[in-house]
Symmetry: C2
Subunit: 103 residues, 2 copies
């Protein structure tokens, strides 16, 4: 059964390490080994996190020689924001403003 895309997106964002990775890649595309060198976890753990982010459609892989460089593809974030604005817009004026902006 294909899970709803939002499952993967919110699930990917739920982990602090993954948010950190996404934020770092947002500043500058990087490889798994580079990212692992700045974190207290192994490269393999980073690869798994990047896999989760990729599966959510938040990252794209680009092969450069023997390296694999990851960069951000933020389109799914907009969908997630839309959902949140729809649910919360009824009570929160800031979210309602976002919902109007998206409409």
């Amino acid at each position: 059964m294909p899970r709803h895309p939002a499952d993967a997106v919110f699930g990917a964002l739920a982990d602090p390490t993954r948010r950190q990775l996404l934020s770092a890649i947002a500043e500058e595309p990087a490889t798994a080994t580079e990212l692992a060198s700045e974190l207290p976890i192994s490269r393999q753990a980073v690869v798994k996190h990047l896999g989760a982010l990729s599966e959510a459609g938040l990252l794209a892989r680009e092969r450069v020689g023997r390296d694999v460089r990851y960069h951000v593809t933020p389109a799914p974030l907009s969908d997630a924001v839309s959902w949140m604005a729809e649910v919360g817009g009824q009570w929160d004026e800031r979210l309602a403003a976002l919902a109007r902006r998206l409409a």
Copy 2:
């Protein structure tokens, strides 16, 4: 160690059942028993999901006689949206627009 609030918010939103619950409560505040009657899971399972949503600050409990009625408190959604707009705004025009709106 107190986890970052975003952990709880995105983690709560990662589960489809919880998004369904949040959406239902957004339309109309309800009790755990009411919500469980419309889902294929037990009341206790619903209570646990509501606990996760509450811990993320997305729900508030209101005691009414012997019932406990849950309603939406969407403030944490705005914070989550801000983070997403900041990370994605550099590449996605829609998110950039949201980031400007929030600033």
